[in-house]
């Protein structure tokens, strides 16, 4: 399964980020009662959406944040437990063999233009998004549905002169409308996990008006979610307002604004002076010595992400083919020291390929190879006969410079070989190199899981041909072990846990990627808000937040 959302820090647009921001004046403090919910416009820090606000074409954080408020899909995720709950769907049933899903919609749900939300709105939207002709980012989210290959073709020679052939059809055969409020989905293979996926934004329904005039829709998106779109100023803000006819849990606040005009520093300063109401990432300079905890006293929070930070070896480059070398790098990094000194203790080092808090997962799958041991590292390094300087590369724009530089320093100290952090200017450039398998240096990687289970931390990254196996790692034995785990899961989770743990050990022995630590975010809010909480999707929970 592909990953739903970007590891947000890295997807933030590049900013000059020069500002040392900080305090502002005192700011007026809101006094009050529920009445303020109706009058105060809650302003949320965000980043400019990378694309027009069409759900099927939005997979990055800046846009997702808004899409999630404008649209409600079949299911949604509980803001605390991250469990799937029915939303627009009355029920979603998957046959025991995992090959067919039946969806029954709730009646009475409306789009913001007052048309009803019907089965067609889902079927058409999904067919549209999956169709490669429409070039939607979320297309591959539908690849498990029967008939996907008929609507989705790919370019035979990648970047070459040939174009992708026309899709055979514009409808997936596996997607069938039963009546206005019911449709079925057939999968090519058993795909029970689809039920977990459908809460994502790309599975949102689209109103009939979208198919008539997509351009008009892009200018004024019409969703079926708790908030409706009111206005947008390019490069500055998007405003939304409560949708009174919403059939789900209605938000308490009436108006909200996503503010893209500020980088992290300026955004933080604005929250501190109560000019902005919420920021989901505290600027790195304020994490130093936990400065934000004093500056935003009683109005800050910390949340672990369902994500892991790793260092990936591009195994397609022969330079990195020696496993001893890869292990030596892993053992030269003092994870504990970096999490304490660079991240002020907000992250937890891992000794395996999962993260703390995953059900059934225990740390230590990686064994001694993920433990700091400079002597052993040096031995292995010398045995490997690696020539030349060591380089770690990453986009420099997502707060990665500091820890990568620190890791390089530790590697240099332990191995006695020069190590340099080589920044790549943008996340896009980094991503392009990753996709094209053109990295020539060890590089930073990250993985944000779709659901809290270790399987999702292993299959996509380390199985041969996995969707995010960017380093081109392949080991038959690991593939087999992972497959055993997948099969065992339906029988008994404990059994699967054990098999995955064994797989972790086998992966660690090859060390195709170095697991480092989990990630977390620190967020802050103004004195005008109360009942603030952050969802696992790293969004302010606009449904429950209130104005103080």
């Amino acid at each position: 399964m592909r990953k739903g959302r970007a590891l947000s820090l890295t997807a933030l647009p590049v900013s000059v980020a020069l500002a040392v921001a900080g305090c502002g004046g005192g700011g007026d403090s809101g006094s009050g009662s529920g009445a303020n919910n109706e009058t105060h416009e809650v302003s949320v820090h965000g980043t400019e959406p990378e694309n027009p606000l069409v759900p099927g074409n939005t997979t990055e954080t800046g846009g997702s944040k808004i899409i999630d408020m404008l649209f409600t899909g079949l299911t949604e995720y509980d803001p605390v437990t991250n469990e799937t709950k029915m939303a627009n769907a009355e029920r979603v049933d998957i046959t025991p063999d995992g090959k067919k899903m039946t969806v029954v919609l709730k009646k009475g749900w409306k789009f913001h233009d007052n048309t009803d939300v019907k089965a067609d709105n889902y079927v058409n939207a999904w067919n549209y998004t999956a169709n490669s002709k429409n070039g939607q980012q979320g297309s591959s989210f539908f690849d498990a549905i029967a008939g996907y290959d008929d609507v989705h073709t790919s370019d035979p020679d990648e970047d070459g002169p040939q174009k992708a052939p026309e899709p055979k059809s514009d409808k997936m055969s596996g997607l069938k409308k039963v009546d206005d409020y019911q449709f079925t989905v057939d999968f090519t293979e058993s795909h029970g996990v689809f039920k977990l996926k459908i809460g994502y934004g790309v599975y949102s329904p689209l109103p009939d008006s979208f198919f008539k005039d997509p351009k008009a829709f892009e200018e004024k998106p019409i969703g079926n979610g708790p908030f409706k779109f009111t206005s947008r100023v390019p490069g500055r803000e998007v405003k939304v307002e409560r949708f009174e006819e919403y059939q789900g849990a209605k938000p308490k606040i009436k108006k909200a604004k996503f503010d893209f005009g500020k980088d992290l520093e300026a955004g933080y300063a604005a929250v501190r002076s109560n000019e902005l109401d919420f920021i989901d990432t505290v600027a790195p300079s304020k994490l130093v010595n936990n400065l934000y905890k004093t500056e935003l006293k009683d109005r800050n929070g910390n949340q672990d992400n369902l994500a892991i930070q790793i260092i990936v070896f591009p195994l397609y480059d022969k330079k990195f083919s020696n496993a001893d070398f890869r292990k030596s790098i892993s053992m030269a990094i003092n994870r504990q020291e970096i999490t304490e000194k660079v991240f002020a203790g907000t992250r937890k080092p891992v000794k395996g390929y999962g993260i703390p808090g995953l059900p059934g997962w225990s740390d230590g799958g990686c064994g001694e190879f993920c433990e700091y041991n400079p002597q052993k590292a040096k031995e292995l390094f010398e045995k490997s006969g690696y020539q030349g300087a060591i380089e770690i590369t990453s986009n420099a724009d997502g707060g990665h410079r500091e820890w990568a530089t620190a890791a390089c320093g530790q590697i240099r100290n332990a191995l006695g070989r020069e190590c340099n952090f080589v920044p790549v200017q943008t996340f896009g450039e980094m991503r392009q190199k990753t996709n094209a398998h053109s990295h020539t240096a060890i590089y930073r990687g990250g993985w944000q899981a779709d659901y809290p289970y270790v399987e999702n931390f292993l299959n996509p990254l380390y199985k041969t041909g996995g969707s995010s196996n960017d380093g081109a790692y392949s080991n038959r034995a690991v593939d087999t072990k992972l497959a055993e785990g997948d099969v065992a899961y339906a029988r008994s989770q404990q059994e699967a846990d054990k098999l995955y743990h064994e797989a972790e050990g086998m992966i660690a022995n090859d060390m195709p990627a170095i697991p480092l630590w989990n990630t977390s975010v620190q967020y802050g809010w103004s004195n005008k808000l109360k009942n603030v909480r952050m969802t696992p999707q790293r969004e302010l929970d606009l449904l429950t937040v209130e104005v103080a």
Binding site: V16, S132, P234, G235, R431, S467
Partner: protein, 308 residues
């Protein structure tokens, strides 16, 4: 005069084309796929990339891209950013902020710089003269970001006299500190230029004649001396307006000002030729026109200069 203006205007065309093409090609040469980073931390859907490449003609060769762009520009269409915003709208939103900032900086330069220059230039050597000389030297030596940082920390964080970061729709008051930072370097130049120019002209024949004629000192200084000494200063201030607008990237970054600087910086990294070139087009036009106006102003201020 008329023919001169026309000739100058005609000369602007190759310079304009050259500069915009240069920028267009350079941004085009920035490495990376502009769309690869738009899908979060996973490979982008190939269909998406193909569609975007087609939409922005990125598969065409660079010349055809440039001339298509130019063709649209001539019709007043600045194009669209990769995330679907109108470049014209973005520029319209941000340009005024940068213009305000640059104009304010020039005003500050003119007022403080000229006063300091006149005071020292007329009085000649002494404590004040040395003070101005040393302090301007010091200002010249400070890179803008150091000045910006220092003042932001001092006035913004320590003394809390001003907001360290301006709001998204800044008032002139908010822009005062950033404008001072932006103009600080030029301020020093203006002061020195005024001083040198005055000292030189003070000894010139026409001033001596004016004094000999028995004119009041105030008239000698105000009319004869100042008018001639101000020519290089005005030249400088004029060209500075243009370069400050393009050079404000650092200042805008430090104070979080939403002008064209930050927008351009982001656009460069995103390989967004359309946005970058759009901004540069405006900057270059301003730059060229201001230069022309200054040359014409010469003729007005100095009767000895005649253009054919």
């Amino acid at each position: 005069m008329g023919r001169y203006v026309i000739r100058r205007l005609l000369q602007l065309i190759p310079v304009f084309l050259g500069t915009t093409f240069l920028i267009y090609v350079l941004v085009w040469a920035v490495p990376g796929d502009p769309f690869a980073g738009m899908c979060g931390e996973r490979p982008c859907e190939p269909g998406f990339i193909a569609k975007m490449n087609e939409k922005f003609h990125l598969d065409d060769n660079i010349f055809s891209q440039y001339f298509q762009y130019l063709g649209n520009l001539v019709q007043g269409d600045f194009g669209e950013t990769y995330n679907g915003n109108s470049v014209g709208e973005l520029i319209a939103l941000r340009y005024p902020v940068s213009v305000q900032l640059a104009a304010l900086a020039v005003v500050i330069e003119a007022i403080i710089g000229v006063i300091a220059g006149v005071l020292t230039g007329l009085r000649g050597k002494g404590f004040l003269d040395n003070l101005v000389l040393v302090s301007t030297l010091f200002l010249i030596s400070l890179p803008v970001f150091v000045t910006g940082f220092a003042l932001q920390i001092l006035l913004g964080f320590e003394l809390e006299w001003v907001d360290p970061v301006v709001s998204s729709d800044p008032t002139l008051g908010e822009l005062l500190l950033p404008a001072f930072v932006l103009g600080s370097l030029s301020l020093a130049y203006v002061a020195r230029l005024t001083r040198t120019s005055l000292m030189e002209n003070k000894r010139s024949d026409y001033v001596r004649t004016a004094v000999a004629k028995g004119l009041k000192p105030s008239r000698v200084v105000g009319v004869h001396l100042m008018r001639n000494s101000m020519i290089p200063v005005i030249t400088f201030l004029g060209t500075d307006l243009g370069s400050l607008m393009g050079g404000a990237i650092v200042t805008e970054g430090i104070f979080g000002i939403q002008g064209i600087g930050k927008m351009t910086y982001d656009a460069i990294l995103q390989k967004e030729n359309i946005t970058v070139t759009g901004v540069v087009v405006l900057l270059v036009i301003v730059f060229l026109i201001v230069n022309l106006l200054i040359d014409l102003l010469y003729a007005v201020l100095d009767p000895r200069i005649r253009y054919e």
